[in-house]
Symmetry: C2
Subunit: 460 residues, 2 copies
């Protein structure tokens, strides 16, 4: 189904006849060629690209799946590099320039032709996580007074250089967006008809350049669009975000969200390719922060050292109790993070969510409390372990603590994403380890408070 | 930008003039109309749909964003329901029939016309998570001997009833798939040209009906396709999976993955809509399983009760140490789950991953070990806490345990997804709480073993 050329073959061809290389690569999809190049060291990959037929080289470089694109350009001859960049699509040019080092960027931009330089400067002003940051300027716009026939002939002429010809933007005399016509509607319309009268006459959906790219993706997905126009305040079309940008965006966000939820910075690179020190940096930061937070458990435990020495049996259940709180918190957080991302839940729903999580947490706490109670009584009766004369009171302590800790965990875990969003942070930073750390400290305090109430006068 | 009609307005219009209702809804996007209907009780929504102009009703019902679609049909008159279903697109028909109860399904399918019934029976044989399960049968196929002109006229005639006209499948005399032409290529070609000679002549990408829908999504994304054909063994096109199915699939998987990683069953419904008992069931199952696993910590701690009673100071650091192992494990797991989902890492890479995680875990362990060491020495020197005469040995115990636990956590966390996949489970079931539970028990054993070695003869 997919055909990745084995690396040695490619290198062998490189040494030989250029015509043979051209013929071989003509049968391969650009995305597969990118896969093959990803397995070569950057210098070798750079050489292969320089040796490829020009069109094929441009197509391969246009693949976001090609790794280390900026690096590849750095290894190439400047003249070759700038000719290739000029032929690439505008959004991919911008993407590569974002990855280039400052020096290299300044050096390369000077060698580009005037139009490319202008588009690049224009696109690079938008942050990469915005609609402006992923848009491309290669869209088809036609004046409203043109006929269908004129429009189709125009598309035939310029179509090759455009990212998509399936969404056509009908513009008024001032260049403002009037509506969007699909190619499907255009080819089904009367040839002599004016495009202003073809297709859906409703106000078209559009986004501003600074709208979050995820929101642009959500609109494309919700309204089943092939592209959404990015417009300025005067409704001038600045560019378009296409459906394949959306998929790339979604896949990237998916990876980032899961990594963040795992309690680390997003890697922004394939696992197998990231360097040892970047890995340590991305993981060590959060791990140390969580460690410092978790140190509060040692402090909290310090206050109860006397109780522990009097009733060592209490220590046995500390991991069980705090982890149950962390687990229920982690469940609640994952639910709310996704509900927020899908806009099922917004900031002002916090109270409704709290009123759902409180009974849910309580019910789950009672469930675990009963299991915990049975476990201790059973072990005692069967003689697996001796929890002492007051084993019933110990069991009651564990059981009540579980109810308290699981309820608190569910509530705290569900409220944390709201709190983070309220403070202006990404709610997805509320990772499972973050929640667990927060609940651990409180869990210890709940546990020993319950123990103090139930066991005072007997064990304590 | 998006215009959701306030619910009372819609109900008001419903009571009044049908023409007025038709005019109002004509200005609204189907996806927004679906949003409005989602806020009504099913009976009211069913009534609104029955009152809508037929075309609008079909478009709204075709929106996967419309909740409770099966339920809506159950509230409708059977004759109305079957006319609406017949006009819907095939993949959405199948989706709704999958959600219907057995009785309702049998009742409704009998009322449909012959062609609809046949397509439905055909589509329903594929599981919902396969390419066959999300494909639609409404694609454009043309015989290879047709000219461009004939093909375009055919598209004009049948286009309205097709899911997409942008990918056209060129078929040989036996009906087998030869290649795919885009509408873009078709309109740019000479009118008298034979379609067999237009566009990319390479073997087209395709999938079998039982391929995982995520794999179909990945191909569409990788090769920037608008649709991928689903073919049988004889290369006959059975249907197509389009790019908007892919986005829906990706968003669904994203939500499922985050929820599973949070340590629960995927909800399969919006957070605010799921019933209390479904919620308890989805969360209580895993929570109880994790609780039973975590009980092993109490068992493990039981073995060290004697040590704890001799050196209570050791108990203070238990939460700190086991949570550090859990956190590093959760990081490693989230990395590997994503790397596997993106096919960056496959089953046979386990050894390479282990050889990456071992030094990474060691380095992270040393980092936390140093922080932990400094914390204890500092608190002792500054008089915040008295860890006793042997505080240096205690600090050394904590430090060495952290190195061991974090290294083990990273290694275990990264290997768990491999183990699950090897055993035939979804690697994404390796949730953060699952890893934490696994590492907690081992963490206790590592901690007390290190303590035994370092503190024997002094505290122990």
């Amino acid at each position: 189904m997919t055909s990745v050329l084995p690396t040695p073959d490619l290198l062998y061809l490189l040494a030989g006849d250029p015509a043979e290389l051209a013929e071989t690569v003509a049968g391969i999809q650009s995305a597969d060629l990118a896969d093959t190049l990803n397995r070569l060291p950057p210098e070798a990959a750079g050489k292969v690209i320089s040796a490829l037929p020009f069109d094929v080289a441009v197509q391969v470089l246009d693949q976001p799946e090609l790794d280390r694109r900026a690096e590849l350009f750095e290894t190439m001859d400047t003249a070759v590099a700038s000719t290739l960049i000029e032929a690439m699509s505008a959004d991919q040019q911008a993407e590569i320039f974002r990855q280039l080092g400052k020096v290299e960027r300044a050096r390369l931009i000077k060698t580009l032709d005037q139009p490319t330089r202008e588009v690049l400067t224009f696109l690079l002003q938008y942050p990469p996580n915005t609609a402006g940051g992923i848009m491309t300027t290669e869209f088809v716009g036609v004046p409203a007074r043109w006929t269908v026939d004129e429009s189709l002939r125009y598309i035939n002429r310029v179509g090759r250089a455009k990212e998509t010809v399936y969404a056509i933007f009908v513009l008024d005399d001032a260049g403002g967006l009037m509506h969007v016509v699909s190619l499907r509607e255009l080819i089904q319309a009367e040839r002599s008809q004016i495009v202003a009268l073809v297709g859906d006459q409703r106000d078209p959906l559009s986004v501003g350049p600074l709208v979050d790219r995820e929101d642009a993706a959500r609109l494309i997905s919700k309204y089943n669009l092939l592209a959404i126009p990015v417009v300025d305040e005067k409704k001038h079309v600045m560019g378009i975000v296409t459906v394949d940008d959306v998929i790339d965006t979604l896949l990237e966000e998916l990876t980032e969200d899961v990594q963040k939820f795992g309690g680390m910075e997003a890697l922004d690179a394939p696992y197998m390719q990231i360097s040892f020190w970047s890995m340590i940096k991305k993981r060590g930061g959060w791990l140390s922060a969580l460690f410092l937070g978790e140190m509060l458990t040692a402090t909290a435990m310090g206050y109860f050292e006397h109780e522990i020495s009097k009733a060592v049996v209490l220590a046995l259940f500390i991991p069980l109790i705090i982890s149950s709180g962390g687990n229920s918190g982690s469940q609640a957080t994952s639910l709310i993070i996704r509900a927020m991302a899908l806009r099922e839940v917004t900031l002002r729903d916090w109270w409704r969510v709290a009123m759902r999580e409180l009974p849910t947490g309580l019910a789950l706490g009672v469930l675990l409390g009963i299991v915990g109670l049975l476990r201790i009584l059973l072990w005692q009766k069967l003689g697996f372990y001796d929890y002492g004369t007051h084993f019933i009171l110990v069991a009651a302590t564990i059981s009540c603590s579980l109810i308290g800790v699981v309820t608190f965990g569910s509530l705290a875990g569900s409220m944390l994403p709201f709190l983070l969003r309220r403070l202006g942070f990404d709610p997805a930073s509320a990772s499972a380890p973050f929640v667990a750390t927060m609940v651990d400290v409180t869990g210890i305090i709940i546990y020993f408070s319950v123990a103090y109430v139930i066991l005072r006068g007997t064990l304590l």
